[in-house]
């Protein structure tokens, strides 16, 4: 583990409140999305991020508004943390024309170029080269932007992962590789896929720094990401962050994958006790923020989510005559 354990006392209260707000927004939005999935209102393959919120919140807080982010099939958190519009995401999940991808992408293809989210892809490790490429563009243009790419522990098993670390390190590209190690790729646990639990060490052979951190500690995530982003922006090249965390829900959909002999309830409960939001909340209360202030944030979030669902429900579907729009740029 990284030696410098995150300490909330080092952070301005405003920053920690911001992190709390983002995590709570992701959590509550996804709990509502889970309900919409169960009700059949959302039909596209939807992978929930609940439990991992600290990673998206911490990394994106360390980025500038014009920095670039790529994600995966499990990217609601990345999208919201980077500042993606909640209405646009909710409408996208319902397949509406007002969605962030105009109903052409769904949960796995969130996009918000206005805040630097150039896309997400369920092809495992598929967006790593894209982030290497946007970082390459930044190096060529000298625009000072940093690119960050989120991926799971399964992506490390793809050959292109190593190609990307190698090339990014060789060219000292301003990119941050964020591995969210939640110990499962779909149904299969890490120990059935990798002989050693050492993802952060894969950085070493490609000569870039690799940090293993507690992905449920938002302050530690933020601190580590800040260091990586500063390094990238200073022209010192890429960093690998292995954030160890856990998704509470199953691989896809609203269920918990407890009925399929994949994982135990005891395991899920042990991770729920390490809830990153509860930890941030306790930290804030300990530093003098009032319960009332936190409740006020929670109320605002509930209101925002309710309005986004109404917006999505009342939005039109894409017109059937527009099937072939956007195949090619005219």
């Amino acid at each position: 583990m990284k030696s410098s354990v995150g300490d909330a006392r080092d952070l301005p209260e405003e920053t920690l409140l911001g992190l709390y707000r983002v995590m709570q927004l992701i959590r509550r939005a996804e709990e509502v999305i889970a309900d919409l999935l169960e009700a059949g209102e959302i039909k596209c393959p939807t992978h929930l991020y609940i439990g991992q919120e600290a990673v998206a919140a911490g990394v994106c807080a360390a980025l500038r508004a014009d920095d670039i982010v790529f994600g995966t099939h499990r990217s609601h958190g990345h999208y919201l943390a980077k500042g993606g519009d909640l209405d646009g995401m909710m409408a996208e999940l319902l397949g509406k024309e007002t969605g962030c991808a105009r109903g052409r992408g769904g949960s796995m293809h969130l996009v918000a170029p206005e805040v630097g989210i150039l896309g997400t892809s369920p092809i495992v490790a598929g967006s790593l080269p894209l982030a290497v490429g946007t970082a390459w563009a930044s190096l060529l243009r000298g625009d000072g932007k940093v690119s960050a790419v989120f991926f799971g522990d399964g992506a490390v098993e793809e050959g292109v992962y190593h190609e990307c670390l190698n090339f990014a390190s060789l060219k000292k590209l301003p990119v941050v590789f964020v591995c969210e190690n939640n110990f499962y790729s779909s149904h299969l646990i890490l120990s059935e896929r990798q002989p050693v639990d050492n993802i952060h060490e894969t950085a070493g052979v490609h000569d870039l720094p690799g940090f293993r951190i507690d992905g449920n500690d938002v302050v530690q995530v933020f601190d580590t990401a800040k260091e990586a982003v500063d390094r990238a922006r200073a022209g010192l090249g890429p960093t690998l962050i292995e954030a160890r965390t856990y998704r509470w829900r199953g691989h896809v959909g609203p269920n918990w994958d407890l009925d399929k002999d994949i994982r135990t309830e005891q395991e899920v409960r042990s991770w729920m006790e390490k809830d990153p939001i509860k930890r941030a909340r306790e930290s804030l209360l300990g530093s003098g923020v009032s319960e009332t202030d936190l409740r006020q944030i929670d109320y605002e979030i509930e209101d925002e989510i309710t309005r986004s669902v109404e917006f999505a429900r009342s939005s039109p579907y894409p017109d059937a005559t527009a099937l072939a729009d956007f195949v090619l740029v005219p």
């Binding site: 670039i68 052409r104 293809h109 982030a131 490429g133 990307c164 060789l170």
Partner: protein
């Protein structure tokens, strides 16, 4: 006064002119500074534009191609070269899953102006993994444009158009054409994507051809003229989007169609051209079309096998005679008869013992 330039140097000139005009253009891929990987098509670029914009790479086709796609998403206009199309298959995810789909699945909010250049390099006993042309595979995929220049003029103009286009374009050039020399304007000019070229006019039969076989079709047409057959030759230039109009207009005039393509027969590009004519203009056809393609066999090694594997002008001429009902008995089958199991072998054997 007109200026002559080889196909290889026409590609080279297009790159020089693109890079001097547009800071967002850069060139990458394995062997871009190699003395042998890409012929003379990149000569002088490194000395002129430097290591930032002319980037030879690690042996990582998938990462490098994806990085070019990513750079394009960020507003650059990268050209990524695969010196052999065989190796380009290692990058298919980034071309097909990512580049081709990104604009669509983002609801038009992003675009990918990348040019992926694949070089077909075959013959000389290079065998199955140093010889392949996968243009039909890429042409199958929505969201990609696919071009195959057959002349020095188009090698330059299509590369310029490909790089300036806002979509991902697969540009496929052919080492067998590199020494072909013809008039090439010194200006910076585009050849419109999606427009075929009538390379020779004729009234008796339409030959639709791609890339090197377009040049071979012209040789065939010249020979056929001596027999009193006037063949019209259409060089497609762009495979996707296909210029159906040019084909249909020609077939409406001639009523007969031969398609010559350097890919395999099954699910190949020739099949697509014929299907288009059969469904759109069946009444125009006065005879069943003929396709001149590679047999459904991996590229061989020994010269005796290579001699019967690749299609040339003589096969196109045979195809024309067959579609006109003038061929020797069995010539249609020999040109177009590779579907039946076993016929590849018997055909190769017959040819080899000649």
């Amino acid at each position: 006064m007109s200026r002559q330039l080889s196909y290889g140097l026409a590609i080279n000139e297009a790159m020089h002119q693109l890079m001097e005009r547009d800071e967002s253009v850069f060139l990458t891929g394995q062997g871009v500074i190699s003395p042998w990987y890409v012929g003379n098509t990149t000569q002088g670029l490194f000395d002129r534009f430097g290591p930032q914009r002319i980037v030879d790479t690690p042996v990582s086709e998938l990462c490098i191609t994806g990085a070019a796609v990513g750079a394009a998403l960020a507003g650059m206009r990268p050209v990524v070269i695969h010196p052999r199309m065989d190796f380009m298959l290692l990058a298919v995810d980034q071309v097909v899953n990512q580049a081709a789909n990104w604009h669509y699945m983002s609801g038009g909010r992003t675009k990918v102006p990348v040019t992926v250049r694949g070089i077909v390099n075959r013959g000389g006993e290079q065998a199955a993994q140093h010889s392949q042309s996968f243009h039909a595979l890429y042409a199958h995929v929505p969201g990609l444009k696919v071009v195959m220049p057959a002349t020095p003029h188009d090698a330059k103009g299509l590369l310029i158009s490909a790089v300036l286009d806002d979509n991902p374009v697969v540009y496929i050039d052919d080492r067998w054409l590199y020494e072909e020399t013809a008039d090439v304007p010194e200006d910076f000019y585009e050849v419109e994507l999606g427009k075929a070229r009538v390379a020779r006019e004729g009234k008796d039969v339409t030959i639709v051809a791609t890339s090197w076989l377009s040049a071979q079709a012209l040789i065939a047409a010249q020979g056929l003229a001596d027999e009193g057959i006037e063949a019209e030759v259409i060089d497609l230039r762009t495979l996707k989007p296909l210029d159906s109009q040019a084909i249909l207009e020609s077939v409406a005039k001639t009523g007969r169609l031969v398609v010559a393509d350097g890919g395999w027969r099954t699910c190949g590009y020739a099949a697509e051209v014929i299907a288009g004519v059969a469904t759109e203009a069946h009444d125009s056809l006065r005879a069943a079309p003929v396709r001149v393609t590679l047999p459904d066999v991996p590229a061989p090694m020994s010269k005796t096998l290579e001699a019967v594997f690749y299609r040339r002008a003589e096969h196109i001429a045979d195809g024309v005679r067959a579609v006109l009902g003038l061929g020797r008995a069995g010539s249609r089958e020999e040109t177009d008869g590779f579907a039946a199991p076993g016929t590849e072998v018997s055909y190769a054997m017959r040819e080899a013992v000649k």
